[in-house]
């Protein structure tokens, strides 16, 4: 029963990782940008919502204002940084977002110092439901998982049914042709960046509710998000959920053996998936970095 409990906790934890990874996946799926500042943007969201809450606003208001501000930040970043980088080829955004991550971390450090913080959400952080004597589920992890499912489902519906969502998919497949049938590819990229950064902000808010964060918490979050996205296949939304759950279950099951194994087990699962992909790709006559990331060349 204890193993079942760990698996359930792992699945719920996977919801958080999926939430964290959604923006990374969307940005890659639409713009082919691997955003190395994604974890730091989540931390910016966490600080912003914490700051608003600290000024006396309710969590709901802080969240609403914070997410709108994050979407606007996405627009500004796209216009000022990412769009220009993309013109120089697919590898330049890697360097640019790496630099952006460092700038964000140092700005946050300058503004908020080295103190660790968390969002005060009262009993929600501790309350749970007792399923059996050995299985408890926390209300917050369930809430995060439900929000992750709703967000992924909503995004999937948006991409398949909404006119702007279809334009995003068309632009992701062939931006030049999309322009030739009337799609403003630049506008589509702006919308994708706004959604991606807002989802990073939402993940940051949940980071602040379920744990603590500081100015340098971004890179760790990026690693978890990156692993979830790569396991699920870059650009695939439901794959991101699967990847998040795989990392989450690996961490909680690993922790059952030894608490110090928790993070390591997640990384080992990621490494195993990458290795298997490389072996499979080599056997099929493909190979290289793209195949290992689960992308078709």
């Amino acid at each position: 029963m204890i193993w079942l409990n760990q698996i359930i906790q792992g699945v719920l934890l996977g919801g958080y990782y999926a939430l964290l990874a959604t923006g990374l996946s969307l940005m890659f799926g639409v713009m082919r940008i691997i955003n190395l500042a994604h974890g730091d943007l989540a931390v910016v969201g966490a600080f912003l919502i914490w700051w608003l809450h600290d000024r006396g606003h309710s969590i709901a208001v802080s969240l609403a204002v914070g997410l709108v501000a994050m979407a606007l930040l996405g627009v500004v970043l796209q216009r000022a940084v990412l769009e220009r980088s993309l013109r120089a080829g697919v590898l330049v955004p890697l360097l640019t977002t790496f630099g952006l991550a460092i700038v964000i971390e140092n700005l946050l450090f300058q503004k908020f110092g080295a103190d660790i913080r968390s969002l005060d959400i009262g009993n929600l952080a501790f309350d749970g439901w007792k399923i059996t004597n050995e299985i408890y589920v926390g209300r917050l992890p369930v809430l995060i998982f439900v929000v992750a499912l709703a967000m992924l489902g909503g995004l999937q519906l948006f991409l398949s049914r909404a006119p702007l969502g279809r334009a995003m998919r068309a632009t992701a497949q062939d931006p030049d042709t999309a322009e030739l049938v009337g799609v403003n590819a630049r506008g589509v990229y702006l919308a994708a960046a706004a959604i991606a950064v807002a989802t990073a902000g939402l993940a940051g808010a949940f980071l602040g509710m379920r744990a603590t964060f500081d100015a340098y918490a971004g890179p760790t979050q990026l690693i978890f998000a990156f692993e979830a996205v790569v396991i699920g296949g870059l650009g695939s939304l439901w794959g991101t959920l699967f990847g998040g759950i795989a990392i989450g279950v690996a961490q909680t099951v690993g922790a059952q053996f030894d608490p110090q194994w928790s993070i390591l087990t997640g990384h080992l699962v990621f490494l195993a998936v990458m290795t298997l992909r490389l072996i499979k790709a080599a056997a099929e006559g493909r190979g290289g970095f793209m195949a290992a990331l689960g992308m078709e060349a």
Binding site: A170, D174, T177, E179, L180, V181, V183
Partner: protein
Amino acid sequence: MSILRVEQLNAHHGLLQAVRGVSLSVGEGETLALVGANGAGKTTLLRTIAGGHRASSGTVVFGGADVTSLPAHRRVRRGITLVPEGRRLFPEMTMEENLLVAARGGRKGEWSLSRVYEAFPILHPLRRKRAATLSGGEQQMTAIARALMTNPTLLLIDEASLGLAPVAVERVYESLETVVATGTTLVLVEQDLGRALSVASRIVCMLEGRIVLEGSATEITREQIVEAYFGLRRGNGGGET
């Protein structure tokens, strides 16, 4: 009355000049066929008119307004749409989604999903199929239908029959007759001279980025076109302009 006027247009691919000082006028409701050997600059000219390629110099005037500096999507809203060479459908989307993407970006007008299916009944059973799984002929019909969903007043079609089986070419040209019947102005790049002459009211032949022959389809002879096509005739004096 001319709907499109191209004046002294130049376009480059890097150091290579693909279009050299082309001036061209297309009348409203006219069907113009652009012929020429591979590398003559036809595709670049069409893409430059549509906004898919930047002009080095010269102007593109459409409906009386200079559109040279407008991006492609804004030219679509003005009424210029290109069916690109190789169809370039969105392969992971269904046939119908390909049409709907264009409907969002285009103008309001006669062409809607129901009108397209009425004009091209062959497409209706394919609406849920992924574009990548369609045959070459079906893809070409979809590409033309997709362009029509933007409700263009000027439709540019690059290589409508390229790589298609004869029966598919037949169907594509039947669909083009439907388009012409609606009064849409058509500029067609075509390698098949017989096809070009059958559908066009005017022929323009390009060689090495320049127009070397231009005239009415009824007055210009096949021999004149062949001579211009292979560079045996230079200058702009083939037929009526």
